[in-house]
């Protein structure tokens, strides 16, 4: 199957996946214990008032009808009204998506650079001090809770050295980038820790394989072998993990957005789950699901560039 046909088929499948996502998320938020009406109205509301609100919000309609309203509304670009904020969900969510995307993208970019540099360095220096240093250093990044690590970075680079702001998002584009650096770095270091371990292992394994030995025997330069033969093979599983981590990043962003006070979706999502603000939870998860699906499609396609052995079926 050609790549174009493959992409077409994947887009069709994407529709099915999105359907699955809406069913899962709709079902999950409906079986969450706790009544949003009491949360909106506060402790002081009477039962009657809560019943009125449920009626008004459409919470006591049949579940299938609610699901249909959610899906058909979404298809028309109407994400409904936030139960808590009583304003259109679109307004609440869409301004925040770019923040989380920028954070995740920035973190992935930083992680790619960090991974390549340190992964290769560690692999070619296997067992020697640079390898050990990288291993221990990134183990620290991996096993440190990111909210704690984030605060350490704030203390060092924000409060003591004044290189970066303590927290917030800024107001202009250069400011955004400047404000995003520390949170992105926090996520990137943790992500790199996973990726470097994998890449290092893969490179070492590939270096031992027969065709690399053959290449050596042919007298090809070390650098050429590394770039053309080794990396290309080693990156296969690393790229898989890289793609997988996008969802991890969006999740990790919840905590990081809170620590660095970034107005992204993570913070809004966790707040909306707690507040049982169904339409907002649904909107954010569906939007991020679309993003994750697209990223994974790109990852799957990248297989064929990295490993000609892979065919699409």
């Amino acid at each position: 199957m050609g790549r174009a046909a493959y992409i077409r088929r994947r887009l069709v499948l994407m529709a099915f996946v999105l359907f699955g996502v809406t069913v899962v998320i709709f079902g999950m938020v409906r079986i969450l214990p706790g009544d949003p009406a009491f949360l909106i109205l506060g402790d002081r509301a009477t039962d009657q008032k809560a019943a009125e609100l449920r009626e008004q919000l459409g919470l006591n309609r049949p579940v299938l009808e609610q699901y249909w309203m959610f899906v058909s509304g979404f298809a028309h670009g109407d994400m409904g009204q936030s139960l808590l904020y009583r304003q259109p969900v679109g307004d609440l969510v869409l301004t925040r998506v770019p923040v989380t995307l920028a954070l995740a993208g920035f973190a992935m970019g930083l992680a790619a650079v960090i991974t390549l540099i340190f992964g290769i360095t560690a692999a070619v220096n296997k067992g020697r001090w640079p390898d050990q240093l990288i291993r221990i250093g990134f183990l620290f990044a991996l096993t440190t809770p990111n909210f704690w690590f984030g605060i350490l970075l704030i203390l060092l680079f924000g409060l003591t050295l004044h290189w970066f702001p303590v927290a917030g998002f800024g107001e202009t584009l250069p400011q955004h980038i400047w404000y995003l650096f520390l949170p992105a770095l926090t996520l990137a270091l943790q992500l790199s820790a996973v990726l470097i371990r994998n890449l290092r292992g893969q490179i070492i394994q590939t270096l031992r394989s027969d065709y690399v030995r053959t290449a050596h025997a042919k007298g090809l330069s070390e650098r050429l072998i590394l770039l053309r033969h080794v990396l290309r093979n080693a990156l296969l599983s690393t790229v898989t993990i890289f793609g997988l981590q996008f969802g991890f990043l969006v999740g990790g962003a919840i905590v990081i957005e809170t620590v660095f006070a970034l107005p992204g979706t993570g913070q809004l999502l966790i707040q909306s789950i707690t507040a049982r603000d169904y339409p907002v939870v649904q909107a954010i998860t569906v939007v991020s699901a679309v993003l994750v699906i697209v990223v994974n499609l790109v990852v799957d396609l990248s297989y064929s560039f990295l490993d000609p052995r892979v065919t699409y079926e």
Binding site: V21, L32, W148, I151, V194, V255
Partner: protein, 290 residues
Amino acid sequence: MSEKALGVGPAQLTLVTPVIRARRIRLNATLLTGLALIGVVILVAIAAPLLTPYDPIEQRFEESFLPPFSPGHILGTDNFGRDIWSRIAFSTRLDLQIGLLSVLFPFIFGGLMGIATGYLGGKLDTFLMRIVDVLMAFPFLILVIAIMSILGPGLTNLYIAVGAVGWIPYARITRGETLATRHLEYVLAARTIGCSSARIMIRHILPNVIAPALIYVFTGMVLAILTGATLSFLGLGPQPPTPEWGAMIAEGRQYLLLAWWMTTLPGLALLVVGVALSLIGDGLAENRGG
């Protein structure tokens, strides 16, 4: 291959299956260090009551916020005057359990699923990969939090929540590797001589694709403990005053500027386990292709 070759079976086939030789595990320095470290941790877990001078949940208000190396409290005390060393030692039991249980089942299930779908392809692959796609489309932590919110806080529910999503990376990794392996000569050879799919998958594919997944297991254990920490942080983990590293880190967070040791020391305990698990993973990786 002839009919005879079929009768010879796996012994001979291993000769044409290059990586299978690596299944013999040899101890190298990395692996030994890792095993030694984890051994110490396990020892602490078992002997916790003998090693600790205090009850981990005993409150002594007059001794709150003592820094490390205070008399009687080698690692200091927390906001309730509880001995931090006692709490760390006792929570070793719980955290090892969290790391192990939340990775074991996902690894077995996900790994086998990835090989089966990668090798067999077809409808099974499509179907399972769609399930994976649906689950993967949710940010990991969100799904775990949502499941925990539905099931309620507690340890058993934590395993269920982490496990429900945790098998996916293993499935993805082994599937990706299987896709690349299935056309290799020795697999084709095995197929030619008429080995059953199940046999090929277990004898020939599994040993070749399991290593990257295995390396990820040890990362996965650390991540599981960290996820546990985050859930504790959100109040969804073991309930207070149960000592658990993640919960201790989360509890200490509000006193970060006042008592750094409350977050740092359980963090270091987590680091030791992380280093140990990772060294084991590395050691096994070094073994590969011996």
